[in-house]
């Protein structure tokens, strides 16, 4: 009753980082429940993946060989059958785009409570306490539930599990009902490209929702010109069509690591921060002193960008 089953994430032949982070989260829970940690990997080169997932402390790795890429119908069937076989107290999935494409269905099918996007998990063996954010990261909450549960974990919140374990690697013979597969992946497409690669830039002047109007982008371009920098943005600017997709920094855009990242009118949602936290020096210009960007900024100006940016341009003229 007290084991933990964690599901690995992979894409195009590569395990994603969250697969090793979910092992750490799973080990912590298994330590608290006194149970075993089972890891499952479904589709793709599962034997090769299983060797990599056999990190210190993992008790068993279950492989389900079926197709190359993610298909949620295959995942839902395989995971519900594995759940019956392993009977874990907690089922962990990554809060990735693919995790969110199967975990809610698995929870529904198994009749289990679901908690998503956890940034912390602990248990006394009976009650699961999940820490989550609400209101775009303005508050943290704790949510409790009893008994078995499905939880999805946010990437980069747990450390990457290291070492080589002595897990039993077992092929799990899931019975996949092909007639229940209602979606087909037909390919992948890289977005962006184009003339500018923001991941190569030394200095990025990055703009967010605080810019208010498309015409105000001129001001940001003027600053970028003065600094010989490249303009990038957070998601809302790209959603609004004011800048092309190849300028978007974040989880669903590009990961950037410039020498200096100047975040202007960017609140710092977790999805954005995931793409720029590796910058050497982060400068934030924002009226809200409590904006999440301030947590990772090295330098900050708490003021209206429409006052500060023109003054800054003037400094270089």
């Amino acid at each position: 009753m007290s084991d933990v089953l964690a599901i690995a994430d992979h894409r195009r032949g590569e395990l994603r980082d969250v697969s090793y982070e979910i092992i750490t989260a799973g080990l912590e829970l298994a330590d608290e429940t006194g149970g075993d940690l089972h890891v499952a990997v479904i589709s793709g080169p599962v034997e090769e993946f299983a060797e990599k997932l056999n990190r210190t402390g993992v008790d068993a790795v279950h492989t389900v060989a079926h197709g190359e890429e993610f298909n949620h119908d295959v995942y839902v069937q395989a995971i519900t059958q594995l759940h019956d076989a392993v009977s874990p107290q907690y089922l962990l999935a990554p809060n990735s785009v693919n995790g969110l494409d199967y975990a809610p269905a698995v929870a529904n099918r198994l009749g289990l409570p679901l908690v998503t996007d956890a940034v912390g998990l602990e248990t006394d063996g009976e009650t699961l306490i999940a820490t989550r954010e609400m209101y775009g990261g303005k508050v943290e909450t704790t949510t409790e539930l009893e008994g078995r549960a499905v939880a999805t974990i946010r990437g980069a919140e747990w450390s990457v599990a290291e070492g080589t374990g002595d897990a039993a690697i077992e092929a799990f013979d899931a019975e996949i009902d092909e007639s229940a597969i209602g979606s087909t992946v037909t390919g992948f497409e890289e977005v962006g490209g184009g003339d500018v690669d923001i991941s190569e830039a030394d200095v990025l002047v990055s703009v967010g929702r605080g810019i208010d109007e498309e015409e105000n982008l001129e001001l940001i371009e003027e600053l970028a010109d003065a600094l010989d920098a490249t303009v990038s943005s957070s998601r809302p600017i790209v959603d609004a069509g004011w800048l092309p997709k190849n300028r978007q920094v974040g989880q669903s855009g590009k990961v950037v690591t410039p020498d200096v990242y100047i975040a202007i009118g960017i609140s710092g949602a977790v999805q954005h921060v995931a793409g720029m936290k590796g910058s050497d020096t982060i400068v934030a210009i924002n009226t809200d002193p409590n904006a999440p960007i301030m947590d990772i900024a090295d330098y900050a100006i708490h003021d209206d960008l429409f006052d500060v940016v023109p003054a800054l341009i003037e400094q270089f003229q």
């Binding site: 199967y102 775009g136 539930l145 030394d202 609004a240």
Partner: protein, 261 residues
């Protein structure tokens, strides 16, 4: 084709706020149409304008105060709206994914749509799970995090926005639930004519009993036990003063770093 769009009124929070127990004090809260749902409404209305959809119906779980937000959806082009609420829901502090699924399943049974569009997540509690959970409950196909949609006969060809600038191209059989990502379209502002017309559109109010949902279904499995402002471990250096002073200090820093002339 009939499209059902789930529409949520979300709470918005001011920059400065206070927490009262496990809630933000209502003095610091506003209300708005959930950003992701705005894109879902737009997608449905565009399908209707293209002659693909015959009817667009919205459903909202929420108290009477939500009706202003629901009228926004109607003003943008939805044909009619349903609002679900009663005393049992009033008393629930955390409506979890399972509870929402039960309610929306009953609405789908009543409306029998061919396509359900939801936002990927809500801006307040951010579960990001209701659409896929609902799809499984009602036996529809689904796709999560859709940022491009093309309907052809019984198939929805979608792009799913993965991490790292990669999109997955997937064909999904209808009927289906699609969770809609921001950026898939450009949501329209409600026109004055739309706002006037919205006043005359049907906005039906339903209780759990009307839907045949047992009140115990909304109790849910999860309990919200604490809410607090996250601890910051920041060691940020703040430039103080007027804009000229702060700009001068930042310029000096950028020169020191060798990235400015």
């Amino acid at each position: 084709m009939k499209i059902l769009v789930t529409v949520k009124e979300v709470a918005t929070v001011e920059d400065e706020f206070e927490i009262d127990g496990t809630e933000i004090d209502e003095r610091f809260l506003g209300a708005d149409l959930n950003e992701w749902d705005d894109y879902a409404i737009e997608e449905a209305v565009q399908l209707q304008e293209a002659g693909v959809a015959d009817e667009v119906v919205t459903v909202t779980i929420g108290p009477e105060e939500c009706e202003q937000t629901i009228r926004q959806a109607l003003a943008k082009g939805a044909d009619r709206a349903l609002r679900v609420w009663d005393d049992d829901l009033e008393g629930v502090s955390l409506l979890d994914v399972g509870a929402k699924t039960d309610i929306l399943q009953a609405v789908v049974d009543r409306e029998e749509p061919d396509l359900v569009l939801t936002g990927v997540q809500s801006g307040d509690d951010s579960w990001g799970a209701t659409g896929v959970s609902l799809a499984d409950a009602i036996g529809f196909q689904w796709a999560a995090v859709v940022n491009d949609l093309d309907l052809d006969g019984d198939t929805a060809s979608v792009h799913r926005e993965l991490e790292g600038g990669v999109e997955e191209l997937t064909d999904v059989s209808l009927p289906a639930v699609l969770t809609i990502q921001t950026g898939i379209n450009e949501p329209r502002y409600a026109s004055l004519r739309g706002i006037r017309m919205a006043q005359r559109k049907d906005l039906d109010y339903l209780t759990l009993a009307d839907l045949g949902v047992d009140s115990s279904a909304v109790e849910g499995d999860l309990t919200l036990t604490d809410m607090y402002e996250p601890e910051t471990e920041t060691d940020v250096t703040i430039f103080e003063g007027g804009a000229d002073e702060t700009a001068a200090a930042l310029a000096e820093l950028l020169r020191e770093k060798g990235v400015a002339p």
